[in-house]
Every structure is written in C-alpha cells, then in structure tokens.
Symmetry: C2
Subunit: 225 residues, 2 copies
DNA sequence: CCGACTTTGTGCATCGGTTCACAAAGGGAT
DNA sequence: ATCCCTTTGTGAACCGATGCACAAAGTCGG
C-alpha cells in the first residue's frame, strides 16, 4: 500500500528505463508539431510499442496522465527528462578519435539531449591538435586532467580493442563511473561502474542469423515457415 | 537419447542469438592465442556472462562439448559461425555517407565477420563520386540497381532521420528484408522485414539515468542505495 | 447536474529467460 | 577394469517483463 501521490518509486524496471528515451524522442517530435495532448495509444504507435506497455512504463514514474484525455506532451517531456537526468548538463569525453570517434563528436543527437562533448582525446600524435566539431583533440596524457577539470562524468570509448581496457582503468581511477564502450572487448570493471556496450558487428550478425532463417536455414530445412 | 548429430533445433531463443556473437568473439581471441579447448567456465568469463547461461545457450545448438573436458575451440567457432550464417558471404549496402556512414564503411569488424560492404549510396551530389574505404559513392537513384545487381541482402541506414523512412520503403521494395537502422526514427515495415536499431543517444541517456541515481536521484533522496 | 464516453492505471495470467543444482558422461590414473 | 575427478547438459524453481482486460476516474455535451 502506497500513498496516492508517491511518484518517486525508487525501483524503475530496467526495461522501462531503456524505453523512456524512445518515448522522449516521440514526444519531442509531437511538441514540435504543436500537439498539446496525446493518448497512450497514439504515443505508443509513435514510439513503436504496445500501449499497455507504455502506460505501465509511465505509471512507474507517477500518475501523470488524465483519464479520458491523455498526457500533456510538455509536462510528460519534462517528467521523463527529469527522471532520466536530462535536465542537467552532462560533460562527456570521447576517447579515441578514429572514424567512429569523429562521427560521434559530430553526432547531433548528443547535444540535443543535454549531453555536451567536453573533450576529445587520442594517443596518436598525428591527430592530437586537430580541431574536430569545434574541439581541440588532446593527448591521452591529459586524460586525468581533462576529466577532473571539466567535470566529465561519462566517457565514450572509441579506441581500438587493444587499448580499451587500459583507458578504461585510467578513467575509472580518475573517478568516472559511467562508460559507453564501442570497442569489441569485454571490459572488466568494479561493480560500482556502469558499462554499456555497442557493437556494430553484433547487430549485423543477429540480422544475418534471421536472414539465413528466412532463406531456409543452415541445412535448408524445408519447413513452410 | 538423441542421435548425436541432431543439432538443428529450429527454435533458438532470441536472447541466445544475441549472445552467440559474443561467444564467437571470445573464441576467436582464444583460437588466436592457440587455445585448443575451453571449459564453459573460462569461456563464460571471457564473454562476460554466467557459465550456466553459456552452457544452456550452446545446448540449443547441439551437444558440442565433451564432459570432463570442455569445448573444442575450432569446432565451436565453426558451429556458431554456421548457426549465425557467417559461413556465407553477406553483401551489405550502406545508405547515407555522412560521418557515421563513413565510420561504418571503414569499420574493420564487418569484413572480419563475413560481411562485405558492396555499395555506398548517398543523395548529396557533393559526396557522390568520392572514394571511401576503397569504394565509390553512388547516387541514391542507383539504389535499386545496386541492390539487385550485387545481391545486397542487408542494408545499413545511416541517413538523416527525415530521409530514413523513404529509403527504407525503397530498399524493401527492392527485396531487402534485413535493415540495420541508425537513424533516430521508428521505421514502419511489413512483418516480414527485420529491423534492428542502434541509437547512440539512447545508450547515453540510459547511462545518465544510472549516473543520476548514484548521485542521489532527481530529488536527492538520501537513501544509501 | 447527470449520463455517456474516453482513456488511464493496474491486477492478473502468462511467457521467456536466468540461475541453481545435480545426475549423466567422459577422461585419466592406478 | 575400476574408481575418482572434472565438466557438460538439463530439470525445475525463480524472476522480471508482457499483454489482456477492466474498474476507476475524469471530460464533455446536453
């Protein structure tokens, strides 16, 4: 039994957290198009999920809808943003300024969501000193200094696989507890540190698996489905 | 008792499929270091998962281990590769040659896993004709031709959000049934088409959520956890 | 002020996935 | 050949997530 206006339930399911950014994106689009109010059904369609799931997700944040009407777009944007921590400014450092690091530095989706690329760091003297996306590329020796002085709390690892663990250890020692890893290695970190990984080739491999199935499977089993 | 070569269970759980590439990566590393045999425990550590989960995952492919010994690295690499469809050559087209598209074209992880970038396509006359990663950038008008003639079965969408759905519709009409989408939009496609999406800003937002929690949560609730 | 209509929020059944724990299977030593 | 040791493969309990279906809550027209 909980008090009726107890929105702050400390335990939001992980699956819900992963979908909130999706809702937020859909809501931003609607706000831009001047839509003031949206039903769970419409928002669900825009976000590509089932409406019951959406309502349950939102119910974890609190009771922000109006029965018979729907959700106020602006208000919901604010509530989700606040829950995700996007109402504050996050300083991000990108380590590894290869093709991927460059793409990330230029990626508009970061800035528009409360993230600020505060530093670009690389080990290659060839790129150190270059200006990318308006930022000076700094030498890896400056890593700890940069993190400390600019209040970097999230680090994006876009280094080669071989360098990732060493850089990871250093940024953790420098106090960082959130890492987004693009290098194709399993990082070993203390429990207190959050690592999310994105491996582009894994996604392709999963697609290949399903594609193969459609084509008849590895042994060309001739089942109709 | 099942016949020893009855590996083909048509229903491999989605969660398992998503982990197979992880095992494969770990196994490749071991093969390179000359390791011939590996236990589920060791492989699990290398892949960053629980060993019981790993064994259950592998059991869906068949009985490829030897009790008391472990798994033969080479053999397991082959079996997983085959299951994922990586023993064949997949032609991939990348549409949208901005920063991200460029990074993807140069990404080594594709080629090394049986994927071949067969075409780069863009709408901007400024980039059409450029050579990137040894490939000529072709005009979007050629999209259908390129897909048909080079046997492209997987398309990577790295276009701006506004263009993604239109390109998506075209590649589907051209016969493609597997799409990897980097554009921050929900694509609407027939059920027969597989879409996997990667949204870089979503991953960062999830990190921000947890980071905020560590720092005390949105209302600075002072609970120890 | 009331009654019909809309849409939320949620209890409940269900499902897929994870983890535990152990019997079965194989290897190697004696 | 037999026993002991290691490690797999899996039955079963558990856990979180999903989706249905509906009562509760609110709006709006008359």
């Amino acid at each position: 039994m909980k008090s009726p206006s107890q929105p702050r339930d400390r335990g939001i399911p992980e699956a819900t957290v992963a979908r909130l950014p999706l809702y937020l994106r859909a809501l931003h689009g609607m706000a831009e198009r001047g839509i003031a109010t949206v039903s769970s059904e419409d928002l669900a369609v825009a976000a590509g999920v089932n409406s019951a799931k959406l309502r349950k997700d939102l119910s974890h944040l609190g009771s922000y809808g109006t029965r018979g009407v729907g959700y106020d777009v602006e208000y919901l944007v604010y509530q989700i943003s606040r829950e995700l921590g996007l109402t504050q400014d996050w300083a991000v450092a990108i380590v590894g300024v290869g093709n991927l690091g460059r793409a990330l530095a230029n990626y508009g989706g970061f800035v528009s969501r409360g993230f600020r690329v505060a530093a670009l760091v690389d080990a290659d003297p060839e790129v150190v000193g270059d200006t990318i996306a308006g930022l000076n590329v700094e030498h890896i020796d400056e890593l700890e200094t940069v993190i400390g002085q600019r209040g970097v709390s999230i680090v994006v690892l876009a280094t080669p696989a071989a360098a990732a663990q060493a850089v990871c250890d250093r940024v953790i020692a420098a106090g960082v507890t959130s890492i987004l890893n693009f290098a194709p290695v399993v990082l070993s970190v203390p429990d207190s540190v959050d690592v999310r990984k994105v491996d582009l080739s894994i996604e392709l491999q999963i697609l290949a698996f399903h594609e193969q199935r459609k084509a008849g499977g590895p042994l060309m089993a001739m089942d109709g489905q």
